[in-house]
C-alpha cells in the first residue's frame, strides 16, 4: 500500500520534472529569439517563424531584413545551441552510466579531443570525401572521437583489468593531452589566417553558423539520441555491475558497443559544428540525476532537455554580456559549470559523511 503510494508520488514528480524541463527549453528559446542587439517585437517573431515553417501568417509587410534576422540568424542559432547542448548532455549521461563513473563526460575521456582533431584536419586540409560533401566534417569528427575512445579503452585494458574510475580518467587525460599537442602542431605549421580560424573554432561557438550547420548536425543527433534512448535498460542494468547485468539477462557487450557508438555520434557531430564546449556533458547529467533519481529512463531525456536549454542560455549570456562583442560560449559554460560541479562534489561528500 505504502509502496504504491510512493510510486504514484514519484510518477507525479517525474511528470512535473518533464513539464518543468520542457518549459525551461521553451522559455530559454523564446529569450534567445527575443534578446539581441536588434529588437524585434514578439508577435513579429512568431509570425515570421510560423509563416516560414508552416505557412501560417497574419501580419503583412514584414521587411525582408527583419525576416532574415529572425529566420536566418537567430532561429538557427538557438536551434543549434539547443541541439549541441542536448547532444553533449545526453552523451555525458550515457558515458557516466556506462562507465559507472561520475567524472566521465565527452571531455574527460578524450572523445571531444579526438573529434576536435578530426574536425581540425578537415578544416585545415580542406578534405572532402567524395559522396559525403559537407558531411565530411561531422563524419570525420565522429570517427576521430570514436578512435580516441578506442585508444582510451585500449590503454585502460592494458594497464588494468577493470574499468576503474581513475584509470579511465587518467587514460582520457593522456589521450587528450596527446591530441591537443597534435592540434597545436597543425596550428603551428599553418599560416596566420588558418591559425586564427582554428583557434576561434576551438574556443567553441554557435555564432554565424546558419541553417547549413543545423542540417549537418541533425541526422547524427537523431540517430545517436534514438540509440541511447532505446538502451536505457542496459544502462540501468550496468549500474549494478557487468556481472550482475549479465545475470539478469542483459547482453552487456552488445549494449555497451551500441551505447558507445551512440554517444560518439552525438559528441562528434556536436564538436564538428560548434567546436569545444566543455562542462555541459559533465554537470547537466549530475544535476538531473540529483533531482530525478538514478533511473536512466528519465535521466537521459531530462538531460537532453536541460542540456539544450542550458546551452541556449549560455549562448544568450555569451552574446549579450559584453555586447556588441561576443564571448566564446565555451568560456561561459566553464565559468558556470566548474563552480557548480565543485559544489556538487562537496555536497556529495557531505551527504555521504552524514550517512
Amino acid at each position: 500500500m505504502r509502496n504504491s503510494s510512493t510510486r504514484k508520488f514519484s510518477n507525479r514528480k517525474i511528470i512535473w520534472l518533464y513539464v518543468f524541463s520542457g518549459g525551461f527549453v521553451l522559455g530559454t528559446a523564446l529569450l534567445g529569439l527575443l534578446v539581441s542587439s536588434v529588437s524585434v517585437p514578439i508577435p513579429t517573431i512568431f509570425h515570421i517563424i510560423l509563416n516560414n515553417s508552416i505557412n501560417i501568417g497574419w501580419l503583412e509587410d514584414i521587411p525582408a531584413n527583419v525576416e532574415s534576422i529572425i529566420w536566418n540568424i537567430r532561429l538557427p542559432r538557438v536551434l543549434l545551441a539547443f541541439f549541441v547542448g542536448a547532444s553533449l548532455a545526453l552523451a555525458g549521461a550515457a558515458f557516466q552510466g556506462l562507465l559507472r563513473n561520475p567524472l566521465a563526460d565527452p571531455y574527460t575521456i578524450g572523445v571531444s579531443s579526438g573529434a576536435a582533431l578530426g574536425a581540425v584536419i578537415v578544416l585545415f586540409f580542406q578534405i572532402s570525401i567524395v559522396g559525403l560533401g559537407g558531411y565530411t566534417l561531422p563524419v570525420l569528427s565522429i570517427i576521430g572521437g570514436f578512435i580516441a575512445l578506442l585508444i582510451v579503452f585500449g590503454l585502460v585494458r592494458l594497464s588494468s583489468r577493470s574499468l576503474a574510475i581513475e584509470t579511465i580518467i587518467l587514460a582520457g587525460i593522456i589521450v587528450s593531452a596527446f591530441i591537443s599537442s597534435i592540434i597545436s602542431l597543425i596550428i603551428a605549421l599553418g599560416d596566420r589566417d588558418s591559425m586564427i580560424q582554428i583557434i576561434y573554432w576551438l574556443y567553441g561557438s554557435v555564432r554565424m553558423r546558419g541553417w547549413s550547420h543545423v542540417q549537418l548536425l541533425i541526422p547524427f543527433m537523431i540517430t545517436g539520441t534514438l540509440i541511447l534512448l532505446m538502451h536505457y535498460r542496459e544502462l540501468n542494468a550496468l549500474a549494478l555491475g557487468e556481472e550482475a547485468a549479465e545475470q539478469i539477462g542483459v547482453n552487456v557487450n552488445r549494449g555497451k558497443i551500441l551505447i558507445l557508438i551512440g554517444a560518439s555520434l552525438l559528441t562528434g557531430s556536436a564538436v564538428a559544428v560548434s567546436g569545444s564546449i566543455g562542462f555541459v556533458g559533465l554537470v547537466i547529467p549530475h544535476l538531473v540525476r540529483l533531482i530525478s533519481g538514478p533511473n536512466h529512463r528519465h535521466v537521459l531525456p531530462l538531460s537532453l532537455l536541460t542540456g539544450g536549454a542550458f546551452l541556449i542560455l549560455a549562448d544568450l549570456v555569451a552574446r549579450t554580456i559584453i555586447a556588441p562583442k561576443e564571448l566564446p560560449i565555451g568560456v561561459i559554460t566553464a565559468l558556470i559549470g566548474a563552480p557548480v560541479f565543485a559544489f556538487l562534489l562537496m555536497k556529495e561528500r557531505i551527504g555521504k559523511g552524514a550517512k
Partner: protein
Amino acid sequence: MKKEIFKNWGLGSFILFLTIVLLTACGTPNEEEGQANNTNTNENANEQVDNDQTEDTADQSQFPVTIVDDAGREVTIEEEPESIISIQASITEISFALGLGDKIVGVSDFCNYPEEAQSVENVGGQDMNVELILSILPDIVLVTDYHHNNHGEILSQFEEVGIKVVVIGSKSNFNEVYESIALIGQTTGTSNEAEAIISDMKERHEVLIEKAEEITDKKRVWVEVSPAPDIFTTGKGTFMHEMLESIQATNAAEDHEGWVMLSEEEIVQLQPDVIITTYHTEDLQGEVSSRDGWTEVPAVKNGQIFDVESDIVVRPGPRLIEGVETLAKLIYPEVFK
C-alpha cells in the same frame, strides 16, 4: 573470445579509417584543382569583358554600373549608394578619403582613422554583427576576402535582402592599393575622386623616387613591427619593402618573404644603419640599445632609431604615401628636407 572480437573490430575500424583518409588524400586535390582552374579562367574572361564595360560608364559615374570585385564576383549596382558599411580599416580610410564620410553607416572594430570614423556605429570585425548589419540595411557592404572565404553563407543573406556585397581583397603593393581605390570609387560613384587620389599618390611617390636617384650610399634599414622578444620584420612582398626600395634604401630583411620573425643574433649580424619601429614605446632608444649585443650595431651607435605610426606603413590605404614620405625624411634627412 568476445574480447578478441572487440579487439579485432577496433583494429579493423582503424584500418578502414586509414584507407578512407588515404583515398581522400589522393582523390580530392586533383579534382579541386581542376575546378579552381575552370573558375579562374571564367573569372578572367568576365573581368576583361567588364573592365571594358565599366570604363565607359564609370567616367560619367553613371548608374547602373557593373563591377567585378576582388573575389571575381560580378556585382551590378543599380543606383548611387546612399549608405555604406565598411568592415575593414583600410576600406574605411579609402571611403572617407573619397568624400563618402556622410554615407558611412557602419565600420569595424579597427577603424580608427579619420576621427569621424570612430563615432560611426561599430558592426564588428572579422566576426560581423550580422543582425546589426541587416537591421541597418545599407545599400552596400564592403567586406574583405576573409569574409568571402569564411562567411559566404552570411554574405548571400545580405544579398537576399537587397544589400550589395563587394569584396575588397588583401593588398601587398602600391598598384593593388590603387586598384582597390579605383574599385571602391566605381562602386560608389566617386571615380573622379578616386582618380584624383591615385594620381596625387603617384605624383608624390614620383617626386620621392626622383630625388632618391642622387643617393649613392644606400643605407641598410632594419624594420621592427613587433617589440622584443618576438621581433617580427617585413620581408619581400610587403609595403615596407616596396617603400624602402623606392627611396634607395636596402631592406635588411630582403632575403625573407612577408612578415617573419628573426632571432636577435641574425638581426645583429645584418648590421643595419637605421632601425625603424612601428610600435610605440616610452624609451625607444633605451630599449633597443639595452638589448644584449646590440651596442656595436651602427644604427644603435649613431642613434638612428625611429618610430613611425604603424597605420601609415602597413594599412593599404591612401595614407601609405605619407608613410613613404616619413620614411624618406627619417632615413635620408639630408636628401629629403
